[in-house]
Amino acid sequence: MSEASTKLGFTPNEMMTIAASRALGNDDVCFVGIGAPSAACNVARLTHAPDVTLIYESGTIGTAPDVLPLSIGDGELCDTAVTTVSVPEMFRYWLQGGRISIGFLGAAQIDRFGNINTTVIGDYAHPKTRLPGGGGAPEIATSSKEIYITMAQSKRGMVEKIDFFTSFGHGEGGDHRQRLGIGTKGPTLLITDLATWKPDPVTKEFTVVSLHPGVSREQVQETCGWTVKFADRLEVTPAPTELELSTLRALQARTKAAHEGTANGKAA
């Protein structure tokens, strides 16, 4: 735990997950990405939004896992789901059919317009680093009614120009989505470990609207690859409550114990 977090009583990552969890409500039907989004969505479900519908792309609808899944298809997700459907049904009826209110995504690389790269670093044909690829994200990004993104800030992750357009955000900004025939809102919220960002209503460039407690404008700029715009009325994100923090920590402790508990002890 860093010095800053000791002083505040929570880490920047905890603040990120909790701030992201607050964005979800009971009426949301949320398509959950693995990693940071999964933690945030389950904290929401365990605190202020017990009736939120969480959907993972493995086909589990209305799932309520006791521990965070390591993969999008852990058995825990199926055991606790309202129903489990096939993968083609998930993508055709539920996502393409317009049933998802929020697509919650993480990103390896993002630009100021919320375009996401999870495919390659460098040239596609001769990549410097071959990343896993898009999975469900290209269509989640265009078929969900809106998109929330959560990721820790870094100059490598928040870049002037992404190497590959895996998932379309606001493209070049402005009305680029409409020009491509995309009828959904796209990225409406970006929550990092330092701040909460929203797109400018006209240009669609992500703008910092709220700094997390103890974070300065300089810190946000130092960990971002483009020149950051700040809202005229910049707010401070409310610190995590005792309930939010204890819920997140207990969830992570249960998760750690569960995943280590399967250690084989011999070559698998």
Partner: protein, 285 residues
């Protein structure tokens, strides 16, 4: 009508050099034992199709069996990257492979189109996505009724599909439950299908009438391989061995360690060894 065969024979009779093959399983029910048998038999020039090519395709690519890989998410689920696949794509080791990359929606639609006997799948996708620029198999069609531009991809029609399932009955009908993924479509899209199962029961009488069942006449061969999905899981039998997925990241990071591991854990083993690997994972299921 299906045949019950030892796995080595089922693989030898149904997989051939140069085949387009799908070993499907969406995190759950991954046919690891079948993939390991294919590795022992040393097939070459395979086109490997799978939505989520995880450890088994990393292993097959690392062993030099793949000519091409068709996929939509090439990661170690929840852990990170596939290091043997990366070595092939980034460094051409052990040799270069062709890549045909899609999104999940595209692959799911393409399998379904294959099962439906259609030449292509049509869906609302790839809008603004750069894969459409680098993959010539992503095209578009115009809806003749509304004028909407929709994405089109060729259907997936494997020569052979391998899946793992909970159980078969004596007649050779196969039951799959839990996260059912894309397996039904992958079997019905393929010319031949081989299924490994945890067990064989007398019949399926008294079970829920809408369970996912592949009738025996849709399956070419069935092999009984308890534990055959490890380190993936079989719902109701044993849980996912998450620690093995974490461990794989280290094994696959090093070319020599990978070869040693494959020699010891795949080449010198048989399908019969899978049962022991899931013993400690059974009680929690």
């Amino acid at each position: 009508m299906t045949k019950f065969l030892p796995l080595s024979q089922a693989v030898a009779e149904n997989l051939h050099d140069g085949d387009t093959v799908a070993f499907e399983g969406f995190t759950h029910l991954i046919p690891t034992a079948a993939a390991h048998e294919a590795i022992r038999q040393g097939f070459k020039e395979l086109t490997l199709v799978r939505m989520t090519p995880d450890l088994i395709y990393d292993q097959m690519i690392g062993m030099g069996m793949a000519k091409k890989v068709v996929f939509s998410y090439a990661g170690n689920p929840g852990v990170g990257l596939l290091r043997r696949l990366r070595d092939a794509v980034e460094n051409g080791f052990p040799h270069a492979i062709e890549v045909e990359e899609h999104s999940h929606a595209a692959m799911a639609n393409a399998y379904e189109a294959g099962a439906a006997g259609l030449p292509c799948a049509i869906f609302r996708g790839y809008r603004g996505a750069e894969l459409a620029r680098v993959n010539p198999n992503i095209k578009s069609v115009i809806c003749p009724f509304t004028g909407e531009v929709l994405a089109a991809v060729p259907s997936v029609r494997p020569d052979v599909t391998f899946i793992h399932a909970q159980k078969a009955n004596r007649k050779g009908d196969v039951l799959i439950e839990g996260i059912i993924g894309i397996q039904k479509e992958a079997v019905l899209a393929a010319k031949r299908a081989v299924v490994t199962v945890e067990e064989v029961v007398e019949d399926f009488d008294g079970l829920h009438p809408n369970l996912t069942i592949l009738p025996s006449w849709t399956v070419t061969a069935i092999s009984v391989v308890p534990g055959g999905a490890h380190p993936s899981y079989t719902h109701g039998y044993y849980i996912r061995d998450n620690a093995s997925y974490l461990e794989w990241d280290k094994i696959a990071a090093d070319r020599d360690r990978f070869r040693e591991w494959m020699q010891k854990n795949v080449m010198e083993k048989t399908a019969g060894d899978f049962s022991g690997r899931v013993e400690h994972l059974r009680n929690a299921a």
